[in-house]
């Protein structure tokens, strides 16, 4: 890369100024966030990568990571498929080349520094931040260690210090943010002997990528990986081999991660606002129903009481009538009896008289 230090520092300043304009990175407008205008990016030209692992060694050094399990000069690690870990922010993998099997393809993997990062959107303490300069940086001083960022990242990048009991951190490429802010190139970019990595402003780097594709249509596929994937990234790739054959997913789509959850989040105020009203309404209805039911019950009881009272009165008067009638009857009977008796007496006295 041929750029002067002063020009570089000028860029950093411009990116910072751009931040003021491009503030609405996460504001929920219908307009798609196209990235901070002056942010940086890295272009990885996969056709130039030879799998020497120089970038891995440089990354380890500038980030003061623990010594690797196998030295960086040991190329046998390329026999297995590797991913980024807590001890390696970047790894190079070798893939079979379908078109010319004697020339394998090498591809470097690290954080893609998404324009609208899934990790940052997922973190519930905002430990991740997309800087106006481009790098997505992590603040270990607030991280709780829930690892939701790792669930969220579509590229499978963040790693965790599972063996650290007291201060475990999420580990991932920083795009050498501290170096970039000092006007230095990212470690890996500086170390690459083949210039397979190009650092610059994203819009310039995109231009370079387009130019290369345009000039060598047989060498490259017409697809700049990272231009639109998951809303775009600050690490871009061009390749001759189809991306899905070299470990890069092509089914991610162009929707930025925050959009995937914005619908669910926007429901929150609705639930908070509407539920209590609805529930209180339902409560009021049940209360009212109960009140009505209670009133109806009371009315029914009253009616029943009324009814039974009147029927009782009826019964009473019936009983009285009956008693009265009975009394009359008894009286009649008694009279008749008396008459009978009297008649009988009279008859017997008559008979007695006749006998004398």
């Amino acid at each position: 890369m041929s750029l002067t230090r002063r020009k570089f520092l000028g860029w950093v300043g411009a990116a910072g100024a751009g931040a003021v304009i491009g503030k609405n990175a996460s504001a929920s407008t219908t307009e798609h966030f196209k990235g901070y205008p002056n942010s940086f990016a890295v272009l990885h030209d996969i056709t130039l990568c030879v799998g020497c692992r120089s970038c891995e060694a440089a990354c380890n050094k500038v980030n003061e990571l623990p010594p690797p399990d196998r030295p960086f000069t040991d190329l046998s690690v390329l026999n297995e498929r590797r991913r980024t870990t807590a001890k390696a922010y970047t790894v190079v993998n070798r893939f079979q080349n379908r078109k010319s099997p004697q020339h394998p393809v090498f591809a470097k993997k690290q954080c893609n520094h998404c324009l609208e990062p899934a990790c940052a959107s997922a973190c519930f303490v905002r430990a991740f931040r997309k800087t106006p300069e481009g790098p997505v940086v992590y603040d270990p001083s607030v991280c709780v260690g829930c690892r939701y960022c790792m669930v969220a990242c579509p590229f499978g990048i963040p790693a965790y210090e599972y063996d650290n009991a007291f201060s475990p951190k999420v580990m991932k490429c920083t795009m050498c943010y501290p170096r970039v802010m000092k006007g230095q190139l990212p470690g890996c970019v500086e170390a690459c002997p083949r210039e397979a990595l190009t650092f610059g402003k994203r819009k310039d780097v995109l231009e370079i990528a387009r130019q290369r594709i345009h000039d060598n249509p047989g060498r490259y596929l017409n697809h700049i990986y990272g231009e639109t994937e998951m809303g775009g990234a600050s690490w871009l790739y061009i390749s001759g081999a189809p991306y899905q054959e070299i470990g890069m997913r092509e089914d991610l789509g162009v929707t930025p991660a925050p959009e995937l959850t914005s619908g669910a989040l926007s429901v929150v105020p609705m639930v908070v606002g509407l539920w209590p009203v609805l529930l209180t309404g339902i409560y009021a209805i049940t209360q009212r129903k109960e009140k009505v039911a209670a009133e109806e019950k009371a009315a029914a009881v009253a009616e029943a009481v009324e009814k039974s009272e009147s029927s009782a009165r009826q019964a009473l008067s019936d009983a009285l009538n009956k008693a009265h009638k009975e009394a009359l009857k008894e009286k009649d009977a008694a009279v008749q009896q008396a008459v009978k008796k009297a008649l009988a007496e009279a008859a017997s006295s008559k008979a007695e008289e006749a006998a004398h």
Partner: protein, 389 residues
């Protein structure tokens, strides 16, 4: 208080021995976890950052603890007063369930002492996990207050108890709002990872699925717990509790059947909306159908039959089937269908120590439950406080 339950003699029951062994092993693993780190006890990896402590303890735990909000909403808001005796046990198990979820989270996160950070240091409001965390923390508090009258009656603190019961309506509404939010956001957690979760389980409706199925889980857990409570703590129940139980069982079974039918319908609608029919013939498709037909449609049907025939036994077994089905769903989303594209060598399977910690946490919950129901007025009404609602 007469504590004839805690004499030396009854301490040596098989249950206590097993529980004791679990506590000792769990304590050992706990020491290992907090001195040697997550790597020493779990099979978590960079590709599989969430294991059973999230898939089982958090997702299943919260779903199965839904009985609290479902029951209190049914009784206090929808006015099903005849189920009143079901409220306290459901609130208690809800409270303990959430407390155990929070306990398990302390094992899972890397730096548990920072769990308050998202609320006091920096708020990541774009995160669904923030919503989950905030609602769970608040709801745990609500459940604690809702549960407190039982403890206050036990302690004889009449005035405090009466004060709290006056808040019942407010707490119930607050509880329903919070539960709606976090039950659904647990599903929404996975919205951000469409590239990792199998399309048959990934859906923009995930939050709705999780919410609706939590209602089913809540109803079924109340049925299931009341079966267990009858069996083990029948002597602690008062006549009202036992009498109302049949009514509660039939009512809840009917509700569960209806909600399951709705859940089944929206699952099928989701399938059709995303046009995912073609996946049904794959291995994952068969597994999906097992879940959908065997653990949603089938229990829906069984509940309906149980209600029609007033078959309490059938209803109770159906509750078990439904609970298993909800757990299966949560495990499918979080573990089985998650990272489905990774080669099998990179897939996650829990370590025995992870499983032990989950068992340990559940055991603690059961022990606290036992401690409380054998002492406090949960399954019966305190004679000094006859139902005033």
């Amino acid at each position: 208080m007469t504590r004839n339950t805690s004499t030396n003699h009854s301490l040596l029951t098989p249950f206590n021995l097993v529980a004791g062994a679990i506590l000792i092993i769990g304590a050992g693993i706990t020491v290992l976890r907090f001195t040697r780190g997550l790597g020493a006890v779990t099979h978590l990896s960079n590709d599989n950052p969430w294991g059973i402590w999230i898939g089982f303890d958090l997702l299943c735990g919260v779903a199965l603890a839904a009985g609290g909000y479902v029951t209190s909403a049914a009784v206090y808001i929808f006015g099903m007063k005849r189920y009143h005796s079901a409220v306290r046990p459901a609130i208690l198990t809800g409270f303990l369930g959430y407390a155990m979820v929070v306990l398990a989270l302390n094992y899972d996160v890397g730096r548990p002492w920072r769990l308050p950070y998202p609320f006091v240091v920096q708020q990541g409001t774009t995160s669904l996990l923030f919503e989950v965390g905030a609602c769970v923390a608040l709801y745990l508090t609500v459940l604690f207050i809702e549960f407190s009258p039982a403890a206050l009656e036990w302690l004889g603190l009449k005035r405090a108890r009466n004060l709290v019961t006056r808040l019942t309506m407010l707490l119930t509404i607050f509880g329903v709002v919070l539960s709606t939010l976090h039950q659904s956001s647990l599903g929404a957690l996975y919205l951000i990872a469409p590239s990792k979760l199998h399309p048959l389980w990934y859906s923009p409706y995930l939050p709705v699925y999780f919410f609706v199925s939590s209602i089913v889980a809540g109803l079924s857990m109340v049925l299931f717990e009341s079966t267990l409570a009858h069996h083990y703590f029948g002597d602690r129940m008062d006549a009202a509790h036992i009498e109302e139980n049949t009514g509660v069982t039939l009512g809840f079974a009917k509700a569960a059947s209806l909600v399951l039918a709705g859940y089944f319908t929206i699952k099928v609608i989701g399938l059709a909306m995303d046009d995912n029919w073609r996946y049904l013939t794959t291995g994952y498709g068969v597994w999906f159908l097992v879940e959908l037909l065997g653990f949603v449609a089938f229990p829906c049907f069984l509940y309906a039959v149980g209600v029609r025939d007033k078959n309490i036994r059938l209803i109770r077994w159906t509750a078990v089937l439904t609970v298993v089905g909800i757990m299966l769903n949560r495990l499918n989303v979080s573990l089985i269908a998650f990272n489905w594209q990774l080669p099998s060598s990179e897939r996650y399977f829990p370590s025995w120590m992870e499983i032990m910690i989950s068992v340990f946490v559940v055991t603690i919950g059961i022990l606290i439950y036992r401690f409380i129901v054998t002492r406090m007025p949960i399954l019966y009404e305190h004679p000094d406080y006859p139902s005033s609602h």
